[in-house]
Amino acid sequence: MLVDVVVTLVKIGVLLGLVLGVGAYLTWLERKLAGHIQARLGPNVVGPFGLLQPIADGIKLLTKESIIPRGADVPVYYLAVVLALAPAVLLFAVIPFGPGFELFGREIKPLIADVNIALLLVFAMGSLLVYGTIFSGWASNSKYAFIGSLRKAAVIIAYEVVLGFTVLGVVLLAGTLSTVGIVQAQVERGVWFVFYQPVAFILYLFCMLAESGRVPFDIQEAEAELVTGYHVEYGGMRFGAFPLAEWYLNVMALSAIAVVLFFGGWSGPNILGPLSPYFWFLAKMFGLVFFVLWLHWTLPRFQARDVTEIAWKIMLPLALANLVLTAVFLYLFGGE
C-alpha cells in the first residue's frame, strides 16, 4: 500500500516536472517558430539560441507585484487561476505514454490513473476549464475580460458538444472508454483509427484548436480588440498560468488524446528497443503540437459569429452523421 502511494507520487512528480517544464519551453519554441515564420530570429539574447528565455521569463513573472483590480471579486479572482490550471494538468492523468513494464518485480504503467472511464474524465476536465475562464472574466471587473470570457465560454461549450459526438465514433470501434484499451484495440487490429474515422479526426482537430484558443478559433482573445481577453487583468505568475494552461498544457494534452484515439498511441516499429513506444508516442504528440503552432502563425482568425455557427451548423450535423454511419457500418460489417 505504502509502496503504491510512493510509486504514484513518483509518477506524479515525473509527469508534473515534464509537463510544466515542456510547457514552459514550448513558449520558447513558439516564439522561435513564430520568428522564423515571420522572417525574424525570435529570442536569441538570453543564453545560446535564447534557450534560457523561459527561465528568465519565469523569474520575472514570479517577482512581479501582486495587483488585484479595484472592484474585483477577490476569492473568485484567486480561484480562477486554480480552476484554469488544475484541470489542464489533470488531463494528463489518463494519458498512457507506453505499455506497462516490469521494475523490481512490480508492474508499472506509465500513466497515473488507469481507469475504465478515462475518456469521460477527459471530458469532465475539459468542461471544468470553462469555469476558470468565466470566473476570471467575472472577477476581474474589466469589460475586456468580461467580453472575452463570455466569448470563450460560448466557443468552448459549442466545441465541447462536437468533441463528445466525434469521440463516440472511436469509442464504438474500440468498445471501451479506457485510453489503454483504445490503444490496445488499435495495436491488435494493426491499423490506426484515423483510417476508419477520417471525418472524426478532422472534426477533432478543429475542436482541439477551438478548445485551446488557437488560431483560427481565437476570437475570444483577439489581441487587437480585446487585448487577449479574459486574463487581461491578471499579472505576474497568475497571468503566466492562463496561457500556460490554455495554449500549452491544453494543446499538449489534447494532442496526446488525439494520438491515443486516432494514431495508435505508442504503436510503431521497434527502433529504440524498450524506449521505442515512448519515442513514437512523443513523436506523434509533438508532431500535432507543432502543427497547431504552425497554424497559429499562418492563418487569420474567424469572426465570433463564424466560430459559433461553424460549430453548431456544420460540425455538429457532420459529427452526428458520422456517429450514425459508424454505428450502421459496425453493425453490418462487424467492425473489420
Binding site: M1, T8, L9, I12, L16, L61, L62, T63, K64, E65, S66, I68, P69, R70, G71, Y78, V81, V82, A84, L85, A86, P87, V89, A93, K109, I112, A113, V115, S127, W138, S140, N141, K143, Y144, F146, L150, A153, I157, E160, V161, G164, L168, V171, L172, G175, L177, E233, G236, R238, G240, A304, R305, T308, W312, K313, L316, P317, V324, A327, Y331
Partner: protein, 119 residues
C-alpha cells in the same frame, strides 16, 4: 492505487500547483502600492461605468441552454457506444431513434434562430 486513488492524489497535487501559481506573487513580489495601480483599464480615461459586470447578450444564454441539451445527450450515448457490439440490432435501432429525436430538437432550435449569432 493505479485507479481512482491515484487520480484523487493527482487532483490534490494539481490544486496545490494551481494555488502556488495564484499566491506566489503575493509572497515574492514587491509590496509598495501605488494609488492608481489597481484602477481598471479602459482606454486610459476615467471609467464611465465602474461596474463591468453588467448585462450581456442573451445569445450566450441560449447557447448555454443548448449545451446542456446536447452535452447530456452525448453523455447518454457514451455507455451505449461501449456496449454496442454486445447489444447488436436492438442497440442500433434504439440509438438511431434517440439521435433522431435529438436531431428534431436541433432542427427546431435552428429553425427558431437560436443558433444564429445575435448582435
Amino acid at each position: 492505487m493505479e485507479g481512482y486513488g491515484a487520480f484523487l492524489l493527482f487532483v490534490l497535487v494539481a490544486v496545490a500547483v494551481g494555488l502556488a501559481h495564484a499566491v506566489l506573487n503575493d509572497i515574492l513580489g514587491p509590496k509598495k502600492k501605488d494609488p492608481l495601480e489597481d484602477y481598471p483599464y479602459e482606454c486610459g480615461v476615467p471609467l464611465y461605468d465602474p461596474e463591468a459586470r453588467g448585462t450581456f447578450k442573451q445569445g450566450y444564454y441560449l447557447l448555454g441552454l443548448l449545451l446542456i441539451l446536447f452535452d447530456i445527450e452525448a453523455a447518454y450515448l457514451f455507455p451505449w457506444a461501449v456496449v454496442f457490439k454486445e447489444i447488436g440490432l436492438f442497440g442500433l435501432i434504439e440509438a438511431v431513434l434517440f439521435i433522431f429525436i435529438l436531431t428534431l430538437g436541433f432542427v427546431y432550435a435552428w429553425a427558431k434562430g437560436a443558433l444564429r449569432w445575435q448582435i
